[in-house]
Symmetry: C2
Subunit: 213 residues, 2 copies
């Protein structure tokens, strides 16, 4: 009768997938989370693009040859992958699963289509959709980058609208009105997911069994 039902090392971690339309600020929120929640692990992508100066294998990316990358795909070792400007990018399953097994939570920041692919392979993940405070605000964030033509902005807005319709497939949606608030909401969701009854019941079964013998 001495066991404790706080968080135990035996508990598996939670995969949080943070997604949302381009321009919504996924990267900024994730960066802020890194300093607010250093105990969270951040998923490392694999890529076939050559390392840039200062990039470290296993930290910034897992650097792979095309052959290695495609072999991992064949072995169902990529939770999702895509080709972008001639290079492959993907999310290695092994790093995610090993982190979860070690009892740590891991966060994966990814665009909307990629997130839905991850959901097919990893439905037990917690899928969070990041929303802009309003559509005009999203537009001004895209315009604010100053790098795009009017047509390109219109095009990106229409893609963003299509993507927002896909939030239906997510568990949660949070508004990125202030980065700090968005982080708090993500950490609140993480806390809540750890407290879900089913998670706790599986702990208490062990605890009750000890008590009943």
């Amino acid at each position: 009768m001495t066991s404790n039902i706080g968080y135990t090392p035996a508990e598996k971690g939670i995969l949080i997938v943070l997604s949302g339309p381009s321009g919504v600020g996924k990267g900024t929120v994730c960066k802020a989370l890194r300093s607010k929640a250093p105990e969270l692990v951040y998923s490392v992508s694999a890529t076939t693009r050559p390392p840039r100066e200062g990039e470290v294998d296993g930290v910034n990316y897992f650097f792979k040859s095309r052959e290695q990358f495609l072999q991992l795909v064949d072995q169902d070792q990529m939770l999702e992958w895509a080709e972008y400007v001639g290079n492959f990018y993907g999310t290695p399953r092994k790093f995610v699963e090993e982190t979860l097994q070690s009892g740590k939570d891991i966060i994966l920041e990814i665009e909307v289509q990629g997130a839905l692919k991850v959901k097919q392979k990893f439905p037990e993940g917690v899928f969070i959709f990041l929303l802009p405070p309003s559509l005009p605000e999203l537009e001004s964030r895209i315009v604010g980058r100053g790098t795009e033509s009017e047509e390109s902005i219109r095009n990106r807005m229409s893609v963003a609208l299509e993507e927002i319709r896909l939030m239906e497939h997510y568990d949660y949606a949070i508004v990125n009105d202030q980065v700090d608030l968005a982080c708090e909401r993500i950490l609140g969701i993480l806390t809540a997911e750890h407290c879900r009854k089913d998670r706790m019941v599986s702990k208490i079964k062990h605890w009750m069994a000890e008590v009943n013998h």
Copy 2:
């Protein structure tokens, strides 16, 4: 295209039901929550017991005659009720519903059987079960009151075990290892519930409709 999808006054509040075995510290946690989260409304019970000195109708309790109380029961205006030492105690539906309609969250602290009755009438509530850090710890909290015989303690522990089995019917379970942590978990759950996709979709429908016309 000017609407905002942060929390709006149009959004209904959430009913949080906090329950758990006697001795687990529900009252202490609720008291701490009151100072940490003054924006939360606390459910006010109805009772037929006469007001004590300083107690204010509508603040400490809604004071009712037996006739008034039973009439409310007949009109299905009590989410749950029970008789205790010759007096009736219950949770008036009207106060809860009016608070939720005003967009505020309301918390109801209640014993396990009462919570399950509330769930029958109010399944959209969020039901949180408070657990002791361990059974020996619960026992020492009951013993610590110093007012009970050994038989009474054994009896209360066996009731507590029965009640812990009922956590199956709850949405979340949290451990009351430290009052501050328990409060944080409750507030995390509340944040998460506000960010549930279905809640947000119903907001964004309005938002998307504005965009599409």
